[in-house]
């Protein structure tokens, strides 16, 4: 089977047309969801997209240096993130804005890295959401090591739902070619670490299509490492929620790692610096627009859950106000002082760093004196 071929094993619980479908293994995992719960998921999806749209706009206005858009991947992120418990720990890439939002990270803080005022402005301990990792795949090893720590802390397989914890590592299809990701699979497997490898296969690593990373569907790689892999419709928030719940619970129960391949599509550019018209066809985008992760939930809610215009308008209004807060926050974010670049290189600054900092300060002050003289 080719890596992109239609896969009969793809787990889907909500069709692109908004119809619920049954899956013997995974439907039971979301059976308790009420229509209100689905409305909440819809809200998450819309807010995630709005954070993204607004950030792209801020980049175009020169307020951000760069932005990595999640457009098209909202369901994969929201579904998996809503399967997490507070004690679970997340290791994201630089594109997990939707996961961050669901985790309770103030979306304004996501902008700092891309504006160039910090390199990760949130406290990872607060929401159990690690800093974004930019080097491709590095975080999968961090997640696995963290999971080994969870094991050593006796927080796996106790049966206590508030204690047992899982770790989730996000990465993309390109990352699966990295040595670190393959090493993480090996480590997790041989130590039976409670980690879920959540691969958002958006089919593009900047300009390189999936065929440049693999000859087989990615989820099948797991079997070679000795743990289960599953491919889920990454544009189906219910299926992503169900599969992530299963994988995370398996990890918390001490049954070891699992690979989830959320099969989706990167609807935007790799980042705002990229130009996808150079390497892919507009027709592909049109095809994937029909599978939009938000539209299908909207269709479901309209047709089967009695959601009216007032509900959708309410979510839009909330998104508008979030966007407004983001814009304001972004523009008000202060530039760091030049001296702050010397902070936190070490826990205590070395004598050399103190000296360099003082020298820079004196140098900068010399301009002020010149201005006074002038």
């Amino acid at each position: 089977m080719s890596p992109t071929g239609e896969d009969p094993e793809l787990v889907q619980l909500l069709t692109p047309e908004g119809e619920r479908v049954d899956h013997p293994d995974y439907s039971p995992l979301v059976a308790e969801l009420t229509d209100d719960d689905v409305r909440d998921l819809y809200r998450d999806l819309v807010l995630a997209r709005r954070v993204d749209t607004e950030a792209v706009a801020l980049q175009r206005q020169g307020e951000l240096g760069l932005w990595a858009s999640l457009l098209g991947q909202e369901a994969a992120q929201v579904g998996s993130a809503r399967a997490l418990r507070p004690q679970d720990h997340v290791f994201p890439t630089y594109r997990e804005h939707g996961v961050a939002l669901c985790r309770g990270v103030d979306p304004g803080l996501l902008l700092g890295l891309f504006r160039g005022v910090d390199q990760g402005g949130w406290d990872p301990a607060e929401n159990h959401f690690h800093l974004y990792t930019i080097v491709i795949g590095s975080q999968t090893l961090h997640a696995t090591g963290y999971a080994m720590g969870v094991q050593r802390d006796g927080a796996v397989g106790t049966g206590d739902p508030d204690r047992d914890a899982a770790v989730i590592a996000y990465f993309g299809d390109g990352a699966t070619s990295q040595g670190d990701v393959n090493e993480a699979f090996i480590w997790a497997s041989v130590y039976n670490a409670p980690v879920v490898f959540f691969c958002q296969n958006n089919q593009w690593a900047i300009s390189e299509p999936l065929e440049r990373q693999t000859r087989i569907p990615l989820y099948r790689r797991a079997s070679g490492f000795g743990f289960p892999g599953v491919r889920v419709d990454g544009n189906d928030v219910l299926a992503c929620l169900a599969v992530a719940r299963a994988a995370l619970q398996r990890a918390r129960d001490g049954e070891g790692p699992m690979l989830v391949e959320a099969y989706t599509y990167r609807m935007g550019a790799h980042t705002t610096s990229d130009d996808p018209t150079r390497y892919r066809l507009a027709a592909d985008l049109e095809h994937w627009k029909l599978k939009d992760p938000i539209e299908r939930v909207r269709a479901y809610l309209t047709r089967h859950a009695g959601a009216d215009q007032e509900f959708f308008d309410g979510v839009e209004a909330e998104a508008d106000s979030l966007a407004e807060r983001l814009r304001t926050h972004c523009r008000e974010m202060p530039d760091p002082t030049p001296q702050s670049m010397f902070d936190h290189v070490y826990v205590e600054p070395t004598a050399q760093l103190v000296e360099q900092r003082e020298a820079l300060t004196a140098y900068l002050a010399s301009f002020a004196e010149e201005e006074v003289r002038a």
């Binding site: 080097v135 090591g145 080994m148 720590g149 050593r152 902070d343 290189v345 826990v347 004598a351």
Partner: protein, 325 residues
């Protein structure tokens, strides 16, 4: 007091660190039952269990990458890289992740990780087993880089490194692993981890060395004494950060400085020492700062390593050149 080799002293130091803090872990290839290829972790798995002394899969990036995760969870991993030439698969994790985590998190995340690397030549080894890669790490902000040269330093410095909340690359002079001396395990270390040490006081020239070259320089100083030359030996101990005040004080006193290391000449630790000394001790210098080092070649086949490595005669030749000014 006990008589310990450098290898046994590191072992004893690790044992003490593991006894005093249950969060300290040892991880690496063959560190468990085998006790490491140099037996530095001998007996630790037996006494502390497989959860704390972890035989890892054979992949260095995995060792360091998972150590990052363990550190984020509150553990203090001590990672063994089996040989100097095998650290490079882990170089990415060390440089892009370990070294910057505290910085990029605004001080929120700490990386109390020790990366132990048996390093240097002189043991007749095959390719990739005799490297001196310390400059790569010393050039990376966020890492601390140290090297021990005696059993006493080995015993205390490994414990100081483990106790530090910054990541430490700990270079062990593998050809000196079997050198013995008395070690006083009571009390505490005489010096902070980042302090240089006057290994031998002298008047006419300062020999600057670290790791395996400290012994070579001490022997050179003994030999030079017979010719009426009094050489001071400064054991840097810490390559990043450098203990510059100790270095400057010595050179200002002697007026001459010769740096000795096994690593290649160009852009090595000696280059930094020479630049610093030239800048800060300019008016005290009677001669240019000289270097006696390995050459700008890959580490050669072992049958010629004696000609590659600085030895007593090459150090004394450097001393002659410095004193001729």
């Amino acid at each position: 007091m006990s008589t310990l080799t450098i290898g046994k002293a590191i072992n004893a130091g690790l044992r003490a660190a593991m006894e005093s803090d249950p969060k300290v872990l040892v991880m690496g290839e063959d560190v468990g039952k085998l006790g490491g290829v140099f037996r530095i972790t001998d007996g630790l798995q037996k006494d502390f269990g497989e959860d704390r002394v972890i035989d890892t899969p054979l992949a260095e990036s995995g060792i360091i990458g998972t150590a990052v995760g363990l550190a984020l969870r509150g553990y203090r991993p001590v990672c063994e890289i089996q040989f100097d030439g095998f650290v490079f698969p882990a170089y990415d994790q060390i440089v892009t992740q370990v070294a910057r985590m505290h910085y990029r998190s605004g001080g929120r995340l700490r990386m109390p990780i020790v990366i132990r690397i048996p390093y240097g030549g002189g043991i007749g080894a095959v390719e990739h087993h005799s490297e001196s890669p310390e400059a790569y790490f010393s050039h990376t902000p966020g890492l601390k880089v140290v090297s021990c040269s005696s059993p006493t330093d080995a015993y205390w410095m490994i414990q100081q490194a483990v106790a530090l909340d910054d990541p430490v690359v700990f270079f062990e002079p593998k050809r000196r692993y079997w050198d013995k001396a008395e070690v006083d395990e009571s009390g505490g270390p005489d010096l902070p981890l980042e302090a240089a040490r006057i290994a031998r006081p002298g008047e006419h020239l300062t020999l600057v060395a670290y790791g395996p070259m400290v012994k070579t320089c001490l022997e050179a100083a003994t030999a030079a004494e017979e010719e009426g030359r009094s050489l001071e030996v400064v054991d840097l101990r810490s390559l990043s950060p450098l203990d510059l005040p100790t270095l400057y004080e010595s050179v200002r006193r002697t007026g001459r400085c010769l740096v000795v290391h096994e690593a290649p000449l160009t852009l090595g630790v000696g280059a930094e020492v020479a630049a610093r000394v030239a800048e800060e001790c300019f008016y005290s210098l009677e001669a240019p700062v000289l270097r006696v080092t390995g050459f700008d070649t890959p580490y050669p086949p072992s049958r010629v390593e004696e000609d590659y490595l600085p030895d007593l005669d090459r150090v004394l030749d450097g001393v002659d050149r410095a004193l001729a000014h």
